[in-house]
């Protein structure tokens, strides 16, 4: 059950840490290095990374370095969502790019800063909130990220403010000439009664491999509402470990959607802590994989207070040699009476060499609750396929229609029509081209 890798890479990684290059939030960085020293990176036997050999990839694929690779990206147009009027924040190889970014919302609505800049200008909200929602002890990749983050984003929405235009965060990795290793952070604070929509996109260009660790902390205060959408449509040599941590206070609402279409190994650790009463969270996910992609969604909903509602729906379509891993944990603490928590994970396997590993998990300590989970693994309904074909629709179109119907439900958590259309077009493209 050992989780410690004693390989050369780990000592190399730890050895590369120097206080001189990483001066912001130094204490938390040093602490994270200590965690790495004792815990190492998760090895094959580690329960949480049983199916996801990302440590092996780091050892075999990447040459560890801490400085950002140079980039030649000059235009972000191909990565934008057409027709969406939004703030666009661009990170290139882990560095915030001021020249490519474009902030359109007024400062009174939302304050958007690079995390390094926020630390350097000694903003109190950053000092007090940074690294409070993520637990580097629990996940060694969060520790790795906490130790080595190069830059990040700080977003602060004042009380009772509705941010009209969404924030699009583009994570671009320019791997045309060099391998890219990037570590970025995000800290969002939604004050009481505020509202914000965030869209994240991940792109690697070029043929080289990229490794991206990303840690997000989002504080949603009383009566605030967050809409969050993540699109992972990366190249076949992209490795990602993303830790998303959201905390909800009383009567807040969170709607999230995670779409995973490509990459080599994509690992999403997605945790929602319901620390207030009468909260509502809906979080959906969709993974449509082919080739050798491995997508691993580990989600946690932690109900700590009574009278809240959570609904989780993750769906998967697997083709080629792809692997889909799902682990959903629902915790209901003793005080969290009258909790309603639902979870479902449904998968369709299209190819005989695809693999699905799913582990829905309920841990309940309160008695007056309604909790359920369900998961299925199966194929398209043969009778429905026959019905469509008997009406002159060819097999691949019929399959596309059926799969489209299967996936459409997960898009319910997106309210912005432009974003929804964009996501929809990505799904249709995948259905028509690649399956």
């Amino acid at each position: 059950m050992s989780t410690v890798t004693t390989s050369k890479s780990l000592s190399e990684i730890i050895g590369s840490f120097s206080s001189a290059t990483f001066n912001e939030a130094l204490d938390s960085r040093k602490h994270a290095v200590e965690i790495l020293e004792t815990k190492g990176l998760p090895a094959g036997k580690n329960e949480e990374y049983r199916f996801t050999p990302i440590t092996r990839a780091i050892e075999n694929v990447f040459t560890w370095k801490t400085e950002s690779a140079p980039s030649s990206i000059t235009s972000i147009d191909p990565f934008l969502i057409e027709g969406l009027d939004a703030n666009v924040i661009v990170f290139v190889n882990g560095k915030y790019s001021e020249s490519l970014s474009r902030i359109v919302s007024p400062e009174s609505e939302v304050s958007i800063k690079s995390l390094r800049e926020a630390f350097n200008s000694n903003i109190e909200a950053v000092n007090t909130n940074f690294n409070t929602l993520v637990n580097p002890e629990a996940d060694s990749f969060a520790a790795l990220n906490t130790a080595f983050w190069q830059d990040g984003l700080f977003v602060h929405v004042p009380a009772s403010t509705r941010v009209e235009k969404p924030i699009v965060i583009l994570h671009l990795n320019d791997a045309i000439q060099h391998q890219v290793i990037a570590h970025t952070r995000l800290l969002i604070i939604l004050e009481t009664g505020s509202k914000l929509s965030v869209i994240e996109k991940f792109h690697t260009t070029g043929e080289q491999a990229s490794l991206h660790t990303f840690t997000e902390e989002i504080e949603v205060k009383e009566n605030a509402a967050l809409e969050y959408c993540k699109v992972q449509n990366d190249t076949g040599k992209a490795y990602q470990v993303i830790n998303t941590n959201i905390r909800q206070a009383d009567s807040s609402r969170v709607d999230t959607f995670t779409l995973t279409l490509g990459g080599q190994i994509i690992r999403n650790n997605f945790a929602i802590t319901i620390a207030g009463e009468k909260c509502e969270s809906h979080f959906n996910g969709l993974y449509m994989l082919n080739g050798n992609t491995l997508a691993d969604n580990h989600t946690v909903v932690d109900h700590q207070k009574p009278n809240s509602f959570s609904n989780e729906m993750y769906k998967g379509v697997l083709d080629g040699n792809s692997k889909g891993v799902f682990n959903g944990k629902i915790f209901v603490r003793p005080q969290a009476q009258k909790t309603n928590a639902f979870q479902s994970n449904r998968n369709i396997a299209l190819s005989p060499s695809s693999t699905i590993n799913t582990k829905p998990q309920l841990e309940i300590w309160a008695d007056d609750v309604k909790c359920s989970h369900g998961c299925t693994i199966g194929q398209l309904d043969e009778e429905a396929m026959f019905y469509l074909q008997s009406r002159g629709i060819d097999k691949s179109t019929a399959q596309g229609m059926m799969l489209y119907a299967f996936t459409a439900e997960t898009l319910n958590t997106i309210s912005n029509e432009v974003v929804k259309e964009y996501v929809d077009s990505l799904i249709s493209e995948r259905l028509h081209k690649n399956f």
């Binding site: 059950m1 003793p334 396997a349 190819s351 699905i356 590993n357 582990k359 008695d367 309604k370 989970h373």
Partner: protein, 481 residues
């Protein structure tokens, strides 16, 4: 609410019914475990050399292993050197028939409600009784012998059917399987062996009754069932132990080998002493049970009612190797006071068109923790396989916990797997409905719990269904969540 509390109080203060201790003289090994103890056990049992070698090999393996820590249970570290590994009721000579058996022993079984005497002919159950790990009596041997069925104690089988034992011992649960299986392989003292020849349908239920009587002992029995082509057997197992302050270890191994077209039904009502309401004493029940559906169209079905033990940790599993073979698992696990249960099943689909079905009902009350942990693994070549799992948890009281850990791994695209789980308490509306119709609260709860567990209880053979229902009622009547 005060009535609920009162009822809960009543429930949690109920005492263990089978907690008496009969003064039996025993022949015991000294405390501790080393190669000499293994030799001592083997010698006491007059075992042939190969058996001793097998045990020693297991012991050496065990010494290198470490105790697994992954289950969702907590208990103080077990000192394996502080356990007596062999304890046998003292008898001057091996009894030839029931009249020769120590009357104290017979009394023990009468208290348990199992009569080893001729009355059992009426119910038609053949019983092998195991006290403190030693088989003391087996009934109906001759009648079974006429059909070619072998049903005897394990040590007898080692002496009289060495070829069968050599062939099948460890074939389903190898000694290296896990820590407790290795320990059992080294020190197992007795158990039951059952062999059903080709094409024979066993005419009666076969039953083993286990009881730990002596203090400070661990019980390590081994059951081996071999069902030849086209045979059928229904096998029952029950267990009790006296009340003791210290914890006792029970690490058994059950192996079932089913060949082509064979059908084995295995039912357990586990009622080891669960400890008192402060969690003092009680049995640690760490058991490895596995069935191998080796032949095509074979079928194994596990049914368990778990009400006892301080800690239960077991996963009766099916390895579905033969094409079209099927495995079933029906379980009711009830925990109360400070009991902890981590139980479930594993269904490993290897053959084509294999089917499995899991129905698990957990009920937690008091301050207990009840976990379902299961795995459904469909291998690449197990095309067209099918699994359905349902695991429901019922919570009574606000200090208990219910946990579900299902692992589902599918490696092909022609199989269908469905899993669903719910956690809830007994609905106020359900109770209200019953009360409206003149059923008092207590009976309403009994009715609802019974209905909740019905699907599993229905799988039990008659003889056990009665006991199981009684046990359920005893543990849970009057408790309203």
């Amino acid at each position: 609410m005060s009535k609920d509390n009162q009822l809960l109080e009543e429930l949690t203060s109920r005492e263990y019914e089978h907690g008496w201790n009969v003064a039996l003289e025993t022949d015991s090994a000294p405390k501790g475990l080393n190669e000499d103890i293994v030799r001592f056990i083997s010698e006491r049992k007059n075992e042939p050399e190969w058996m001793l070698e097998w045990r020693l090999k297991a012991f050496r393996l065990w010494s290198k292993m470490t105790e697994p820590k992954w289950p969702n249970v907590t208990y103080p570290a077990i000192n394996y050197q502080d356990i007596i590994y062999y304890s046998a009721p003292k008898q001057s000579a091996k009894p030839k028939n029931l009249e020769d058996v120590d009357p104290e022993l017979i009394k023990t079984f009468e208290k348990l409600g199992i009569s080893l005497t001729e009355q059992k002919r009426l119910t038609g159950v053949a019983v092998d009784a195991v006290i403190d790990s030693v088989s003391v009596a087996t009934t109906f041997k001759e009648k079974l012998g006429e059909l070619g069925i072998i049903f005897c104690s394990f040590s007898e089988a080692v002496r009289e059917h060495p070829d069968l034992i050599k062939k099948y011992l460890g074939s389903v649960v190898p000694m290296s399987d896990n820590y407790f299986a290795a320990l059992n392989s080294a020190v197992f003292s007795d158990g039951s062996f059952c062999y059903i020849p080709k094409g024979v349908r066993c005419p009666m239920e076969l039953s083993t009754y286990f009881r730990i009587n002596a203090a400070n002992t661990g019980q390590f029995e081994r059951t081996l069932i071999v069902a030849e082509e086209g045979s059928y057997v229904s096998y029952l197992e029950g267990c009790t132990a006296p009340m003791r302050d210290e914890n006792q270890l029970h690490a058994a191994v059950v192996e079932i080998y089913a060949m082509k077209d064979a059908h084995v039904k295995y039912s357990t009502v586990q009622n080891w002493y669960p400890g008192d309401k402060e969690g003092k004493g009680g049995i640690y029940n760490f058991v490895t049970k596995r069935a191998l559906c080796a032949g095509d169209n074979s079928k194994v079905s596990w049914t368990q009612v778990e009400t006892g033990s301080a800690i239960t940790w077991k996963y009766p599993s099916c390895v579905l190797k033969g094409d079209n073979s099927s495995g079933e698992f029906y379980s009711v696990a009830v925990t109360n006071n400070l009991q902890q249960a981590d139980t479930g099943t594993k269904m490993i689909h290897i053959g084509k068109n294999t089917k499995s079905r899991i129905v698990s009902k957990g009920i937690s009350a008091g301050r207990s923790q009840n976990s379902y942990r299961g795995q459904v693994h469909i291998m690449k070549r197990a095309e067209g396989s099918r699994n359905f799992s349902q695991c429901d948890s019922l919570l009574m009281g606000d200090q208990c916990g219910a946990h579900t850990f299902p692992y589902i791994d599918v490696e092909n695209s022609t199989s269908k797997v469905e899993h669903e789980a719910t956690t809830s308490k007994i609905g106020e509306d359900q109770i209200f409905y019953c009360q409206q119709r003149g059923i008092d609260e207590e009976s309403a709860v009994a009715l609802i719990v019974n209905g909740y567990a019905k699907e599993v209880l229905n799988q039990l053979p008659m003889e056990f269904a009665v006991e199981a229902q009684k046990l359920l009622a005893l543990t849970l009547e009057g408790s309203v969540g």
